[in-house]
């Protein structure tokens, strides 16, 4: 199929894999973090790790929007969904995320009107179709999805739709990366930068990583060859002792990003002073809330929310997994108390979460590698 198969060619993959092997310094081990959950998913779905030399370890970063939502916010979401006047519109991924009172799927079974949507504009459409109900959209995601929420807000204002509001949980990737870099227990060699976030924010925001922390960053696409080429470019930088921000995903990502999307974001949303990330704790200026001009579309203004901070379940080590400190299988509850059908932590819920990806797709590869003769 055009525009798909050319990014999945096994011949090109083998050639890249050989080049990558050639860039490995004997005796050295490499920890590369792919920041984005989309990469994690692609890596496992296509078996990319099978093609990498044993010395390279891919660490799965915090760029999975479902995975970073703290329990307290999920509790708030369920409280909103259970209001009798509310139609709660959410991406399908959030349906199974556990809160301290079950998931949205459980709330739905108890009678809450929870609808799955594919875009915030679908939620706005629901509001137009049900003028007697209050539609609340559960907005999650990084800079990738935030502009769609922004455009929906602008449209809601332009059309004067009053029975629509947004429960904003949009987060920004740069502060999270900075928090990771400042985390004492972390040892990473380089980053595979997020592709679609960069489509919006461009390349400039990553410069501090290369300049101040001396770590290479290669913004990469989501096809398996993209990821492999991203690894190759990172390895080349490391071999040559460079640390720069490079763009593998030139067919989509521009240096300056998408100014139109950034403008829509700036018009509708502003930075929160601080926001809690699952497993990473509070990170200052790391999330977006609606601007005051949009207060009448802001679910946090319109409704009384519990807003209680709920500690993550003790056994759950999502935080360490998100930081790449431990691998999914090293978590104490992985595969025992925490499985995709009964997740404890968010990393086990989304198909982009490191634990779910490893559980569903990857676990045989790990085993085979371990069994293979050295």
């Amino acid at each position: 199929m055009r525009f798909v198969d050319e990014y999945r060619s096994p011949e090109l993959a083998r050639r890249l894999a050989d080049e990558i092997s050639g860039l490995v310094e004997p005796g050295r081990r490499y920890k590369l973090m792919e920041v984005c959950g989309g990469h994690t998913h692609a890596i496992y779905r296509h078996g990319v790790e099978d093609l990498l030399p044993e010395a390279i370890e891919l660490v799965h970063g915090p760029g999975c929007p479902v995975c970073v939502i703290p329990m307290g916010r999920q509790d708030d979401a369920i409280a909103l969904a259970e209001r009798p006047e509310v139609v709660f519109a959410t991406f399908g991924d959030m349906m199974r995320v556990p809160s301290s009172r079950g998931s949205l799927l459980d709330a739905k079974a108890r009678g809450a009107d929870v609808r799955m949507v594919y875009s915030p504009l679908d939620a706005l459409k629901l509001a137009r179709e049900h003028p007697d109900r209050e539609v609340v959209f559960f907005a999650i995601g990084f800079e990738t999805t935030a502009p769609a929420t922004a455009l929906t807000l602008l449209r809601a204002r332009a059309e004067g739709v009053r029975n629509f509001s947004v429960f904003a949980n949009h987060v920004t990737i740069i502060p999270a990366i900075r928090a990771l870099l400042d985390s004492p227990d972390l040892r990473l060699d380089a980053f595979i930068g997020p592709g679609h976030v960069s489509t919006v924010i461009g390349l400039r925001p990553y410069r501090f990583i290369a300049r101040d922390y001396g770590k290479p960053v290669v913004v990469s696409g989501f096809e398996p060859l993209d990821v492999l080429q991203g690894v190759q470019m990172v390895m080349r930088q490391l071999a040559e002792g460079r640390s720069q921000v490079e763009n593998q995903y030139t067919r989509v990502v521009r240096e300056e990003g998408n100014p139109l999307a950034m403008r829509a974001l700036a018009e509708t949303m502003e930075l929160r002073t601080t926001f809690e990330w699952r497993g990473l704790g509070f990170i200052s200026q790391s999330a977006l809330k609606l601007r005051e001009e949009f207060a009448q579309w802001d679910a946090e203004v319109r409704y009384e929310l519990p807003g209680v901070r709920v500690a993550d379940p003790k056994a759950c080590q999502c935080g360490e997994v998100l930081k790449g400190v431990i691998k999914p299988w090293e978590c104490k509850v992985f595969g025992t108390a925490c499985t995709p059908d009964r997740p404890i932590g968010t990393c086990m819920v989304s198909s982009e979460g490191a634990c779910a990806a490893y559980y569903n797709y990857g676990r045989h590869a790990g085993r085979r590698r371990e069994r293979a003769p050295a």
């Binding site: 199929m1 296509h46 078996g47 399908g92 459980d106 060859l225 992985f334 595969g335």
Partner: protein, 364 residues
Amino acid sequence: MEGHARTEEEVLDAIERRRRRPRRKLLDDRITLAHGAGGKSTHALIESLFLEQLRNPLLEPLADSAVLRAGGASGPRLAFTTDSFVVKPLFFPGGDIGELAVNGTVNDLAMAGATPLCLSAGFIVEEGLPVEDLARIAASMGAAAQAAGVDVAAGDTKVVERGKADGVYVNTSGVGIVEHELELGPTAIRPGDRVLLSGTLADHGMAIMIARGELELEVELESDTAPLHGIVAALLAATDQVRALRDPTRGGLATVLNELALASETAVVLDERALPVGAEVRGACEILGIDPLYVANEGKLAAVVAPEAADAALAALLAHPLGRDAAIVGEVRDDPPGMVLLETAFGGSRVVDVLTGDPLPRIC
């Protein structure tokens, strides 16, 4: 636990042991949509609730059809099955709920290698449904029954209040006669066997998803709903080395192969490059991030066949109008037991696990 860090191998072994454990526990206190999605939750519900209360040797294999012998040891073997249809929308490109209800039950019989004899049809109709809609559904059931050479011999109608059913729900049951002496099923599967698929994956599920009109994708996909007993007869005429037949409906090919792998304690290894998927369906799946292995089919079969019979079986499928895209898509190995693996087109490999929830509610 403390003081002893588990190795990756130990963690994975524990997961595999747990997967192979025959009985799953039902831990929920309310039914959610996941219990109807055909994945792990459905299995837990069936095995720990229904099977627990209704256990008997005919039900126990949880096959598409029960196969029983009528009138003593020398009597004919009969296949018996039932299926309910709650698809939304009622009418979709390539078919409607009526045609689906006939073909679905015919296919459950066909997977036992049976020739369908007759069906029953039960209708639960919502107050307010246009008679014209019901007439269309009845007409297409009639046409489908005629095409499949089967009579609808008994029926029932109930009407419920507005809001209590989504238009109409249809249940069909069917009886068929098994005219061969093969024991089809997971116990017959051996390492080395080949896995064949009769045609392209994911047509029905993706057609329904698009037909709901919620996605604004401008592509018209058609359901593949079709009766499969003819192609099964052609396959069984070509070789008596068929081990098992399944129609990969709800939960897709991944789900039925996992069921076979678990029940036969073998591994199934699929070759991604060999899996037939139509270009439009593949495009839609890529855009929506859906894996065609988990999407429903309503006119395809997966056959496990002895290695020496694989070529003859493939030729028989290819020669049938419903098998034009048939392919050998994988093989059975002994290790790791109970698992389905995929050799990716990219050159890697991964696990194909049982689906947890369903991205496409109510597709059949």
